[in-house]
Symmetry: C2
Subunit: 314 residues, 2 copies
DNA sequence: TCGCCGCATAACCCCCAGTTATACAGTGTG
DNA sequence: CACACTGTATAACTGGGGGTTATGCGGCGA
């Protein structure tokens, strides 16, 4: 019935005082205005402008329209501006979730990068292990998740999508064996899991434990899990006390050092991929995209751990 | 860029939860919604809805649009409603101007009629003699004027328009001669102006005075104007005191009676037309039109004064 | 009285926004 | 595990709304 262009015309007529001037101010020709007014009048069933000789004036109905025109056009303008701000990274919000050990270096660095480039973009950050973060992503409570996948089993690898998600590999994280420095294997250059078939094991998060069991099974034994904790600092503490051995991603060992603990490469090598996950649509939201790029950039600064191949050729 | 239909669609998607449901609720087909969203997205340069499997959700930008959609659509709705109210005579304002003696019966009756039929229509009323009321009409300060025209000389007659105005004759008002009941002509059935060439005259408003002079000139003399007042009650008072004679419209004599005053028909008869004047555009404004009709109806209740022809045949 | 300025109208035309038809993807269920 | 159901995306087509140019007409000022 009434549309925005019509209101713009009404407003222009009101302020300019003539059809011709209104047309000029809107970039139209004069007949366009005449027709627009006529259409609107016969649609509304009442006169909205009073043609008095060479000048035109709004009738009461026209003034009603002009009054509401301000509201409507202002709202449209601010909507457009706000969306443009989001599109232009002058605004926007990203709900980021990452697993605890990514929170240590990768995420803070990426957050800093985004904040430096786009100060108006706000990123809310929640720690969560991959299963929860992916659930949150699925349910719409999260825009971008930093997760990890062990050796391509847990979730898809590379640029592939998992369950409709889009995942980008940020970096590869070599899994190492953590033993007490007095452990019988502490001086070795590397170890196989079979060497530790009888040691008590300390398991991390459920997925990590799953990975541990899987690797040990491949090595021909079932690990005796003596302790279980999601906190890697605690894991290191347990190892430091000589209470057991553990598999710990290299990324953790770079941030949490412990003098009593020695980290050995394992053979065959095992890695986890640290990935950024989002949906195809959210990946195209500017703020999310920018955060994604910042994560990739932050990951690039952290040197990749030597690959299994490079390790064995040493 | 952003238009009202698009906002309607966004809102529907938000509330309905799917394109199909939104389409159904708006009476569109599903592809229409798909295309609309796509268009909007590429126009705005950002993603608006996140397609997650079988369900869709608004992104941050989409939520911004949905939020403003409420403002815009509400404003449009209320604008439409207000205009419809004006068009349907459930609202509206008429600025009416009438000359003093019309205010006595004609206008009050018309106002009452309008108020009874359309209680929500408000009529503001200002007394003004024809020249001022027509000026106000021309300048936009008045929507409808009740004026008078002496014998088709002052302003156009009948349905003709004067200066782009539209005039409708409400009633014909016979001009009579008012004399003191002791006047030498008081017992006559009628009089000619020539009979009163030597009497002192009492003149009314400027236009009335003009008319008096014009009639007397036709009768071959120049009237001696002893008193001049715009107030017809005062005119009658002067006549009652025997201070002079006056020409007074019949309409006045019907409302203001004075025992000392006798009103005689004059020969040749002279009348003034009481007309309702507005512009072509304003005449199509429902409230103005309704008031105009009410004026005509009110005039019909007041019996026409006998015409000059009927009088002379008596 | 003439000329300029501004609105109205007619004829034309293009593009946008719908429609139908159909393919494709995700999600439960036998 | 496959199938059916439900929902979105895409393609091709079509109609009409809304703009343009050209022209007429009326009011206002010099």
């Amino acid at each position: 019935m009434i549309d925005a262009p019509a209101l713009r015309v009404i407003r222009a007529i009101d302020t300019e005082g003539s059809f011709t001037a209104a047309a000029a101010s809107l970039g139209f020709t004069q007949p366009a205005i005449s027709q627009m007014v006529r259409r609107l009048e016969q649609r509304l069933g009442t006169v909205i402008v009073e043609r008095r000789g060479r000048t035109v004036h709004l009738t009461e109905a026209g003034q009603v329209l002009a009054r509401h025109a301000a509201t409507v056009l202002n709202a449209l303008d601010s909507a457009e501006e706000e969306v443009a701000a989001i599109a232009g990274l002058r605004a926007g919000r990203v709900r980021l979730m990452a697993f605890p050990s990514a929170s240590a270096t990768l995420v803070p660095r990426a957050l800093a990068l985004v904040k430096a480039r786009y100060p108006e973009v706000t990123i809310s950050f929640t720690e969560a292990e991959p299963p929860e973060s992916l659930t949150a992503l699925r349910s719409g409570d999260c825009d971008l998740a930093v997760a990890f996948a062990y050796d391509g089993v847990d979730v898809g690898r590379g640029e592939e999508d998992l369950d409709g998600f889009v995942a980008t590999v940020l970096l590869e994280d070599e899994v190492r064996l953590a033993v007490n420095r007095n452990h019988r294997l502490a001086q070795r250059e590397s170890a196989t899991l079979a060497d530790l078939a009888d040691d008590p094991w300390i398991a991390g998060c459920p997925r990590c434990r799953g990975h541990l069991v899987s690797l040990c099974t491949q090595a021909g034994f079932a690990p005796g899990v003596a302790y279980e904790t999601e906190d890697y600092v605690a894991v290191l503490g347990l190892v430091a006390e000589g209470l057991g051995v553990a598999l710990i991603p290299d990324l953790i060992l770079r941030t949490v050092h412990h003098p009593e603990v020695v980290a050995l490469p394992i053979r065959p090598g095992s890695r986890r991929s640290i990935i950024a996950v989002t949906t195809a649509d959210l990946g195209r939201v500017p703020a999310v995209e920018a955060t994604m790029l910042a994560l990739e950039e932050a990951a690039r600064v952290i040197p990749q751990t030597p690959t299994c191949a490079a390790l064995s050729s040493r």
